[in-house]
Amino acid sequence: MGNKQTIFTDEQLDAYQDCTFFTRKEILRLHGRYHELAPHLVPMDYTNDPDVKVPLALIVNMPELKENPFRNRIVESFSEDGEGNLSFNEFVDMFSVLSETAPRELKAIYAFKIYDFNTDNFICMEDLEKTLNRLTKEELTPEEVKLVCEKSIEEADLDGDSKLSFADFENMISRAPDFLSTFHIRI
């Protein structure tokens, strides 16, 4: 390889490589994808770290995220301002955590954030109900929804506070061997 690119400096690329699970080529490719989202907004030259954020509406229209029922939550969990506007760093971070090589613990932390709709650091009944509604297109009756959520909490809650804390969630994840491969978005 070794073709000269002018998007990032070498130090920047090294830093990206050290902080994410991507290689140089993948980071450049990600930059291309990021640029495609908003060509007029995103500069091609990132050597001086421009402060550019692509709004939520454009990001959730990416083909990788468009059909995902949790797309808004995913993008919001990775954005600093909580609104879903991602800078390039956050964009890379998001796909890095969702990549194949990210470890289970890291994925569990972010999965917990995604499912925690009201950001109170617990997955409580309302969070579960919202999750269920998104997963089933709201075709279950409210009683059924309530029943399923109660059963879930009963199964996973270890410490008896009728909510799922991160530890409960992590415990459940550790016993689900498929989690690593399902919590994965290819880009």
């Binding site: 390889m1 830093a15 490589q17 050290d18 902080c19 290689t23 080529k25 083909p63 990788e64 468009k66 059909e67 949790f70 990775f78 909580g82 760093n89 956050e90 890379v92 971070d93 890095s96 613990e105 932390i109 972010y110 999965a111 009201n118 950001t119 109170d120 650091n121 617990f122 997955i123 579960l128 999750t131 269920l132 997963l135 089933t136 297109k137 059924e144 029943l147 059963k151 879930s152 909490i153 199964e155 996973a156 270890l158 410490d159 008896g160 506070d161 804390s165 991160f166 530890a167 969630f169 459940m172 016993r175 689900a176 061997p177 498929d178 491969s181 399902t182 994965h184 978005i185 290819r186």
Partner: protein
């Protein structure tokens, strides 16, 4: 203990003795200064909470594990990340309500960062980078920390000899760049990358696993082929470069494998043990024997390893796979991007949830007569399936005998019609392998299983039984009848048989996908729309693959690869319509059988796989829909690996052992001609080396360990004792797990209780000043680590229904409040 007197611990349940005082973070805090901290602070015009706390704020820190130990260090770093990300967003307003300024929180976070950087600096570069990657912080912070770590590392090194430090730095940097370059180069040559992404997006991870399996098998066959080619075929080609076979090549050989191919390096018979006139002497016998033996050993070892690992991961720890919680939170496949597929998945999930809800409602009490009836039905179906298997075995055996008769009777070995008639046997075998499992799945519809998973297991078991019995009949035939009755090279004859089986199996899998998928789609959409579009039957296809692979191997069981392979493939094999769910063992078995008799089978397999990939992809895209049920793939994986091991590997191993130890190689062909048994080659070699005194240790090992029974007996005894020890250890650990689970529950209750108490006390002390603030609900987020490795706190009892603050005030913040209070009080006095 605490000034908030816990009341004798009457609510502390269970094993109180294991609880160290450090497990409750509040303890060190208040134990420092008794009751003073909780006296009311009467500063009417100060809205801040005054807390008196010693400046040594490390007492309420949570780092109770020694810094620098990598594993604990990394997890504590992860927790620190959550501290930061959990606290700040939108928290300013609520912070002020509690009376802490943002600066306090920031200071706290800064000092934690410093600790983090210090820990990272002590690690090696690779570990450091891995740890940074694992931090759950945003990119800016990670870069920040990385820069700090690099700066402090280089400043540390600055005091040493700059030259050597510089050099080693450069070397490590260039090595890292090199490694990264290699991995990106590897990515560039990845075969079929785009296609697989597309398939994964449309059909999900489980179907994708089939294709990754296929790709893996291709790669594996390439390696197999290269190894065999290098050690066995090339020397042979070199040796016989002058000769040319005396039979003409006709097109039929591609299918029947006989004729022209007979005298080439394709089969065992084409190999001789001759030596060239020059000094180059290559002992083909030993090469043949040891290459294949090494394959077998490697396979066995990696199979056992893979099976054990898979079992531990998927069976021992996971018992939640069918629960609602799992289905809600862990089962959604994020990599699906196709709209139709996603819609499908949502429908399936809804159906599954409804099913499980209705199961919950139902009671499962059947009257005795019903149960007897069920039992009777089960018994009948088992008898019928065993009968079918036995029937097919008998048919195949008679066909084999008939073939042998034909060979004896035939005068003209090159007759086209006779060669074509040899295809009858593989045709019949493949037909049985296709049709009888269909019958089995029909049978299983008659039966009524309460547990769908159990149903799948039964189907798989029956299919495996069928395949194994067919294969064992074939092997029996080969070993007993062929060796004595075939006038020519019996090994080549067996090789040809296997070749034909492989080729015919390939054709059948093409037809299978045609009939199974294309026609079913036509029927399902045009003629009987109630059936609908077929699903991609992962199990069948995967097992087909393994089947073909089994056919190609014999002694060279790269078991490991197939295992690891099966490990990948069976991911997601959980479809209701497992209509030919187990070609698995026989195939695998045959594959491994093949390589002894025909070392070039991997090449054929490679070509086959390459074609199959495109075929299946086209068929998938046109004809199939994503599978309905997902999940429990990992457990099925383990089952398949275990199945591979027990019938297949053990069977092949015993067959190979029998061939090598007891059967006489044919006199007229092959590298082992003239010997009584194949193993004699090794004995002869050992006798030769006995003359050379330097290798007398090797001869001693051979004669006293490999040939003596006592040695193996002792070895077995030692292993049994070890197994017993490990079993006892696992029993002990099970008890420990139960105790720890209780400990977790109790500890949660402890903390909630204590935090509640703390809050009450603070409410009491703050009531004159913060009446409007303290009514706000407060969630306690605990972000420190304890023995039980928690990272979030509790809210005891009912959580208030009022608006929650945008962040959760942590126990840490409670502590900081207490500290403030103590400070103010100190100033007062």
């Amino acid at each position: 203990m605490l000034p908030l007197h816990v009341g004798g611990g009457d609510w502390l349940r269970g094993q109180g003795s294991w609880r160290s005082p450090d497990s409750i973070p509040m303890v060190p805090l208040s134990s420092q200064y008794g009751n003073r901290a909780w006296q009311l602070n009467h500063e009417p015009d100060n809205s801040q909470i005054r807390i008196n706390l010693p400046k040594d704020s490390s007492t309420f820190r949570h780092e109770e594990q020694p810094p620098g130990t990598l594993r604990m260090g990394v997890t504590s770093m992860r927790r620190r990340g959550t501290l930061k990300t959990g606290l700040l967003p939108g928290g300013n307003v609520a912070l002020e309500k509690i009376g802490l300024t943002e600066e306090d929180v920031r200071d706290e976070i800064m000092s934690e960062e410093q600790d983090l950087v210090k820990e990272l600096v002590t690690m090696s570069t690779r570990e450091c980078i891995q740890a940074i990657r694992d931090l759950p912080m945003c990119m800016e912070d990670k870069k920040n920390i990385r820069n700090q770590v690099l700066a402090s590392k280089s400043s540390k090194k600055g005091f040493l000899l700059t030259c050597s430090a510089d050099c080693s730095e450069q070397i490590s940097l260039s090595l890292r760049r090199c490694g990264v370059g290699l991995s990106s180069a590897r990515q560039a040559v990845r075969l079929w990358q785009g296609t697989m992404k597309e398939i994964g997006g449309r059909f999900g991870t489980s179907v994708l696993s089939y294709f990754s399996f296929l790709k893996w098998l291709l790669m594996f066959n390439t390696i197999s082929f290269l190894v065999n080619f290098g050690f066995i075929t090339i020397p042979q080609l070199v040796q016989t470069s002058g000769r040319s076979p005396d039979v003409r090549f006709t097109g039929l050989e591609l299918i029947t494998g006989a004729g022209y191919f007979n005298q080439t390096v394709m089969y065992y018979g084409g190999y001789i043990n001759g030596t060239k006139d020059s000094d180059f002497k290559y002992n083909m016998q030993l090469a043949y024997f040891f290459t294949i033996a090494a394959y077998l050993v490697l396979c066995g070892v990696s199979l056992i390893y893979s099976m054990a690992r898979s079992f531990r991961r998927n069976f021992v720890l996971s018992d939640l796979s069918s629960g609602s919680a799992w289905r809600l939170l862990c089962s959604w496949d994020f990599s699906m991007v196709n709209e139709r597929a996603v819609r499908q998945r949502k429908n399936n999930l809804r159906v599954q949830l409804k099913e499980s809800l209705s199961e919950m409602m139902q009671t499962n009490f059947l009257p005795v007569s019903e149960r007897m009836k069920q039992l009777g039905i089960h018994l009948c179906t088992w008898v019928v399936s065993a009968g079918l298997a036995a029937g097919s075995c008998a048919a195949i055996y008679y066909l084999c005998q008939y073939n042998l008769q034909q060979i004896k009777v035939s005068q003209n070995p090159g007759n086209l019609k006779e060669e074509a008639s040899t295809l009858l046997l593989p045709f019949v075998v493949s037909l049985f392998n296709l049709v009888i499992p269909l019958l089995y799945s029909l049978l299983s519809k008659v039966e009524n299983y309460s547990n769908p998973r159990f149903q799948i297991y039964v189907i798989i078991l029956r299919n495996v039984f069928l395949k194994m019995s067919i294969l064992s009949i074939l092997c029996f035939h080969w070993v007993n009848n062929v060796t004595t009755n075939v006038p020519m090279c019996w090994e080549s004859y067996v090789g040809q048989d296997l070749y034909r089986l492989v080729i015919v199996n390939f054709f059948f899998s093409i037809f299978g996908s045609f009939f199974g998928e294309f026609l079913r789609r036509i029927i399902g959409t045009r003629c009987m729309p109630s059936i609908g579009i077929p699903e991609f039957d992962i199990a069948t296809n995967v097992l087909d693959l393994i089947y073909a692979q089994t056919l190609t191997w014999y002694l060279s069981s790269n078991y490991a690869s197939v295992c690891i392979h099966v490990y990948l493939i069976t991911f997601g094999i959980f479809t209701i319509r497992l209509f030919t769910s187990s070609h698995i063992c026989p195939l695998f078995f045959l594959f491994r059988i093949g390589i002894y008799f025909s070392p070039l089978l991997p090449l054929i397999q490679m070509i086959k796989l390459f074609l199959l990939f495109y075929l299946k992809k086209v068929s998938l895209n046109r004809n199939c829909q994503p599978p309905r049920r997902s999940g429990r793939a990992a457990q099925m994986q383990t089952i398949y690996i275990a199945l591979l091991f027990f019938p297949s590997f053990v069977g092949a191993l015993s067959l190979v052992a029998y061939t090598v130890w007891c059967l006489t190689p044919s006199d007229s062909c092959g590298p082992f001609q003239g010997l009584n048994t194949t193993f004699e080659a090794v004995s002869l070699w050992m006798e030769d080396t006995a003359i050379i005194s330097e290798f007398s240790w090797a001869v001693w090992i051979y004669s006293h360990m490999i040939k003596s029974e006592l040695f193996f007996f002792l070895l077995a005894l030692i292993f049994l004792v070890l197994i017993y020890f490990f079993w006892q250890i696992t029993q002990g650990r099970k008890m420990l797990i139960i105790l720890l689970k209780e400990q977790i529950i109790n500890e949660g209750k402890d903390k909630a209780f204590l935090l509640e108490k703390l809050r009450t006390f603070q409410n009491l002390s703050l009531v004159p000043y913060h009446a409007e603030n303290v009514h706000g609900p407060q969630y306690f987020e605990r972000t420190y680590q304890t023995e039980s490795d928690y990272s979030e706190g509790y809210q005891r009892g009912a959580c208030p229904e009022e608006d929650t603050p945008p962040f959760a005030s942590s126990a840490l913040m409670q502590a900081m409040m207490a500290r403030r209070q103590a400070e103010e009080e100190d100033e007062e006095y």
